[in-house]
Symmetry: C2
Subunit: 349 residues, 2 copies
């Protein structure tokens, strides 16, 4: 994804003096957003490009393209429902899909730690190819680097992706409008819990598998069905809550969600209760939220069900208020949802 | 660069059984080529794409694009003549240029080790932006990950790049023809020696600085001058020797070079003699070789001199023989140049 910006409080109070990078700087929460604002948005990324998107929208020779990158450092490399290879391919495919782009080409960069078993690398590479084939994308270029034992961790994978936008729809936070319905395409929180459980040697009965999945097909189906999608966002690092807070800030709208309508499996709910996590902040890798005009809701739901998604309406955009997210809790009270400072679960992607 | 393939001896004798990745697998030599052949070319990369190029040539919406990626793990992060930031930007810009593509858009992915100083990150980010500006490319999207202390090494940076090909020239090894002259754009070996000296705390008098530089301008100048470029290749990991062996294998031609004509500074020559390195195999980050029909040589030399390069004719393509590289040594004898098994100097890019 792009370095997503934050306009939240404190975002410009970050002095680079003697400060050190902490794990929380990679967690998708407020610290990461501060770092991104101060260093990457301010200095690095060309100001013409909208840093609030999952991918950059570029033109080249008359073609309208989406371009995105992600590095993957997930620990462990293999987890229930996927591995770093399928994650690296679908993570980037999904960032393209969130711009309404059809994934075309992927690049792959490996950083391998000395001593890593070639058999494991082979499994990962096979998984990447299968994932690319399933998403209709082609891996066309790549690179390999090796670092000394103890200066990496198994394998890190970067993917970058190019997608083509061949429709006139503008899909971005600026189009979020009062009255829009907010949907998610399935139950949340399974990826983060599955990776964490695998890393910590916890087991649940029944086992919790990651929701990792390619999202180009459901998005293309919505576009082909004529649904006037206003905005899409995948629910990765920081989970549903962080995605919604980012979108509230980027759009200047108040987003009202209903906790009762947010789909969470019994297993994830139980695991979160035991471990003290809030499923709203747990990462997903096959889940997205879509903002739609209410007239298009029935078409959208039918279209998503036809591609095996289990969509739920979780809330709506208010016509009043400031850029924030409010949730009506299971108890019937209302609370404001904020970003966490860091991430509940590091290295889940 | 793309996973460059090797058809050399032994390339299919690589069994993935219990084998482990070694540093030499990242060195640009024969072991890296074996790994790439066995895993990446065979399994990962779409077979339609020519794995012998620095970048993949793709089309999107009618536009002819080049797409490439590289990860950078250089140690140390700052070295005489550059840093990991400028290296990461120009390394990818140069891979695009080697396809005759004008660099347009770059993505950046950071993998940062917990505890890394934010001040250093800021220096690197500023360097990247300046390098992109100088090369006429725009950084449009990015990603940040953080790994635990001791599971990374400072910062690793991946860049991917999109370039546009807006001329009819085919620039690839298949066009290397008997009689072509082989030129380089300046003296070789400075990058590898500068990084190694900086890492090991060696100092030379006068100091040796990296040749790191963006190569889009000289390549675009050659194209605009109407030079019928047959092939280009940057002289990175594995140096001039490895690049020429790759090109001999990819083209099926015998390349004859003259050691006396290969420009090596006195400092690099002295450092190599003391340290036991062969400058032919030392990495460069601002040097390329071009294959041209002899009729275009004068135009090419004048064009390169006009953009401050110091081109040298180092040899020619033979009209006989098998796919190999022969060098006429300073002593007047002739020897065959082969790939090294690994790399003389690890982590120089």
């Amino acid at each position: 994804m792009i370095f997503a910006g934050s306009n939240g409080p404190g975002s410009s109070q970050h002095s680079p003096g003697q400060q050190k990078i902490m794990l929380a700087h990679g967690g998708g929460g407020r610290l990461m957003h501060q770092l991104i604002d101060d260093l990457f948005i301010t200095i690095l990324v060309d100001p013409e490009y909208d840093a609030k998107h999952d991918a950059a929208i570029c033109t080249a020779g008359g073609a309208k393209l989406a371009f995105t990158t992600d590095s993957f450092v997930v620990d462990p490399l293999f987890f229930p429902g996927g591995d770093i290879g399928s994650l690296a391919v679908w993570g980037t495919v999904n960032d393209l899909a969130m711009c309404g782009a059809r994934p075309l080409y992927l690049s792959v960069g490996f950083i391998i730690e000395e001593g890593f078993a070639i058999e494991q690398l082979q499994r990962i590479v096979r998984s990447m190819r299968a994932a690319a084939d399933r998403a209709g994308a082609r891996i066309v270029t790549g690179d390999t680097k090796v670092v000394e034992f103890g200066k990496g961790h198994g394998v890190f994978i970067n993917t970058a992706g190019i997608g083509r936008i061949d429709h006139g729809l503008e899909i971005n936070p600026a189009r979020i409008a009062p009255g829009d319905v907010i949907i998610v395409n399935g139950d949340i929180g399974r990826h983060g819990i599955a990776v964490m459980a695998s890393r910590e040697g916890l087991s649940f009965e029944p086992p919790i598998t990651s929701d990792l999945a390619p999202l180009a097909a459901p998005v293309m189906a919505l576009i082909e069905a004529g649904v006037n999608i206003h905005c899409l966002r995948d629910l990765t690092r920081g989970g549903l809550a962080t995605a919604l807070v980012e979108l509230a800030q980027a759009s200047g709208r108040e987003l009202c969600i209903n906790e009762r309508e947010i789909p969470v499996s019994n297993g994830v709910r139980a695991a979160c209760e035991i471990l003290g996590f809030d499923p709203l902040y747990v990462a997903n890798e096959g889940r997205f939220t879509a903002f739609l005009p209410p007239d298009d809701l029935d078409t959208a739901l039918a279209t998503l069900r036809a591609v095996d998604a289990e969509p739920h309406v979780i809330g709506a955009v208010s016509d009043a208020g400031s850029p924030l997210v409010t949730v009506k809790t299971l108890m019937g009270t209302e609370r404001v949802v904020d970003m966490l400072s860091g991430e509940q679960l590091p290295r889940i992607c």
